[in-house]
């Protein structure tokens, strides 16, 4: 790669990042606005941040939102990973394609339909709407993305390794924990990450299946938007965004640090292990 080339590519990436972050910077900027709207900046204030911490209802909702997102994506990742392994082992191409199509249905169905059908389902089995129904729904719509993230990693796995392990007398459990899971770890992590993203972002499905006082942030923001989005929400989003940013960067560097330590110890280059996603 020539030097000139390199600069152009950096410029392009920079541009993409600027575009991706522009609306977010916009939100953050106005979270300090005294004026109360997102169009004219009248003066600097911390008031919106103070309001976030005084609003116990909002804080409770934030906690619940993260609880649902973390837990639902964990469950979805477990079920989805095993589902992907199951699909991988299916020999018939037709069966596998059918399974994959079924898998993708939820991924591509409009949220409104998913929400409405889950609501019918829950009421049909007489389920009380609230935390559990929301959790189950989030698990349900997060599973397909996990499968989609894990499956390619399985397909890239060297099948001769599995054969070899079995020939050497490894049990199924050993094959799973010593060969399969380590090989697909990047996919699993990516799946978890995406599931978390989906769960955090979901509004429509949650809206249908929640009840009895339980609410998530997306639903709360939507119902508050009747008044035009209040800057308190901007402030909250800014905080969450910074929190996520610190988490991501922090995690990345801890990871890097550990790897370089391992690297020195083992003296062998293992680029795969560095892979976070």
């Amino acid at each position: 790669m020539t030097k000139k080339n390199f600069k152009w590519s950096n410029l392009y990436l920079l541009l993409v990042f600027v575009v991706l972050y522009a609306p977010i910077m916009y939100l953050i900027f106005y979270s300090f606005n005294e004026g109360g709207t997102m169009t004219s900046f009248t003066g600097f204030t911390w008031d919106n941040y103070a309001a976030v911490f005084e609003d116990t209802r909002l804080m409770g909702i934030v906690l619940d939102t993260f609880l649902v997102a973390l837990l639902a994506s964990l469950l979805a990742t477990v079920i989805g990973t095993f589902g992907a392994i199951g699909i991988y082992y299916v020999k018939k191409r037709n069966t596998r394609n059918t399974l994959l199509s079924m898998n993708n249905i939820l991924l591509v169905s409009p949220d409104v339909i998913i929400g409405a059908s889950f609501l019918i389902l829950f009421t049909f089995i007489g389920f009380r709407l609230g935390f559990t129904s929301v959790l189950l729904s989030h698990v349900a719509f997060s599973i397909p993305i996990v499968v989609l993230m894990v499956l390619p990693k399985l397909q890239e796995m060297n099948p001769t390794m599995l054969k070899a392990a079995q020939d050497l007398g490894a049990t199924n459990l050993q094959v799973l924990t010593k060969i399969v899971l380590p090989a697909i770890t990047p996919g699993i992590l990516a799946g978890y990450f995406m599931a978390f993203t989906y769960s955090l972002d979901d509004f429509a499905v949650t809206f249908f299946v929640t009840g009895n006082g339980f609410s998530t942030l997306a639903v709360e923001i939507y119902s508050r938007a009747r008044q035009g989005v209040s800057l308190e929400i901007n402030a909250l989003s800014t905080l969450m965004f910074l929190f996520a940013l610190i988490l991501v960067i922090g995690y990345y560097f801890i990871q890097q640090y550990n790897m370089s330590k391992k690297h020195k110890q083992n003296g062998k280059k293992n680029t795969k292990a560095v892979t976070l996603l």
Binding site: L70, F127, F208, G211, N212, Q227
Partner: protein
């Protein structure tokens, strides 16, 4: 493998912490079930101070949940699985909920302060004798415009919306009944028309409005009118009251040929578990002082006559929000048209939205 297990453990621990803190927070708020009032209301449709006051006075704890459309509320209540003690639907939805036997018949002896309500706003066709519902707020549908850009007084009738000078400037509220209704009104028909010829005529006339329509939006109208993105819009009176606080150049007109008169009333769904708390809350909100405070906060028109007495005259004498008897006579309340005609209205509305000039 080890890494995966560690990560899972960390996530589970985080969940534990979140669950614990969220529970703590709930307890701090006193939400435990027994003495809770589950209130299901529109977003930001009550002064939060009044909720605190109610909790202090009665000892009940209010769990406040919001909906953004009558239909969404209906779906949630009719599907069961929830236990809302008090909800605030609009009149046509109340009629439907009564028909479908979803509401508890109100025991008027348990409600204090009914005498404060304006008798002209009681006993409406959708709920004769107010057996099932108590008025909370009411209002109209009309035209709001900015006198900085449009000469004051030049807008009086629905037909004025069709003036070519408003090209690409008009914002409409995203509601089939409202938009088809204004076209019906402009032709001199009823907003509850079930006459296919009238509806077809109204729809055809509406299509000619397309060049003027800038957007068909919902609550954002408020924001846009304040920021002067548009200079003319069709929306509800309550929304307009909010806009006027922020932008003094706005004027509101109720076309005299007819428009919609709407109500948002308290109802107690059959699924309610704490009807005592619900009655207590209705009575609390009927108290003139509380009603006045709430009306000043929300900005909608209150049906509480005694509250009007203690509110500032500049609000209560404003014909934009408390229209004259003459105008009132031309206003119509939406009737439940039945599924078939709701469908027809919506199909026409969909076609209108898709119509490109």
């Amino acid at each position: 493998m080890k890494r995966l297990v560690t990560l899972a453990a960390i996530i589970l621990a985080a969940c534990g912490v979140l669950y614990y803190s969220s529970n703590k927070l709930d307890q701090a708020q006193g939400i435990t079930g027994e003495n809770t009032l589950n209130l299901y209301n529109w977003g930001d449709y009550i002064d939060p101070e009044l909720i605190t006051k109610f909790e202090e006075e009665t000892g009940y704890v209010v769990s406040y949940e919001t909906f953004d459309s009558n239909e969404a509320m209906y779906t949630k209540i009719s599907q069961g699985g929830t236990a809302y003690d008090l909800a605030v639907p609009s009149e046509y939805m109340i009629e439907r909920m009564i028909e479908e036997d979803m509401l508890i018949e109100l025991d008027h002896s348990k409600i204090e302060g009914m005498e404060h309500l304006d008798p002209d706003l009681l006993d409406m066709a959708f709920d004769p004798g107010n057996q099932y519902s108590m008025p909370y707020f009411w209002g109209t549908l009309g035209i709001v415009y900015n006198i900085k850009f449009i000469e004051e007084g030049s807008i009086e009738h629905w037909d004025d919306l069709w003036k070519p000078e408003f090209q690409d400037n008009l914002m409409l509220i995203d509601g089939a009944r409202e938009v088809i209704g204004l076209s019906l009104n402009s032709l001199g028909y009823s907003v509850n028309s079930k006459n296919d010829a009238e509806l077809a005529e109204a729809a055809e006339k509406l299509d000619t409005l397309t060049p003027n329509v800038k957007a068909v939006v919902a609550d954002e109208i408020k924001m846009y009118m304040i920021q002067e993105e548009s200079s003319i819009a069709v929306t509800f009176s309550g929304e307009v009251a909010d806009m006027m606080w922020e932008n003094e150049d706005l004027q509101y007109v109720i076309p005299p040929e007819g428009s919609n008169l709407w109500f948002d009333n308290f109802v107690i769904p059959k699924t309610a578990q704490n009807t005592e708390a619900a009655y207590a809350f209705i009575s609390f909100m009927l108290d003139p002082e509380n009603a006045a405070q709430n009306a000043e906060y929300v900005g909608y028109s209150t049906p509480n006559l005694s509250a009007l007495d203690i509110m500032p005259a500049e609000i209560t004498e404003d014909e934009q929000f408390y229209p004259s008897k003459d105008t009132m006579e031309h206003l119509e309340v939406y009737e439940n048209l039945g599924q078939e005609y709701i469908g027809i209205y919506n199909d026409y509305f969909l076609k209108f939205k898709m119509h490109r000039n």
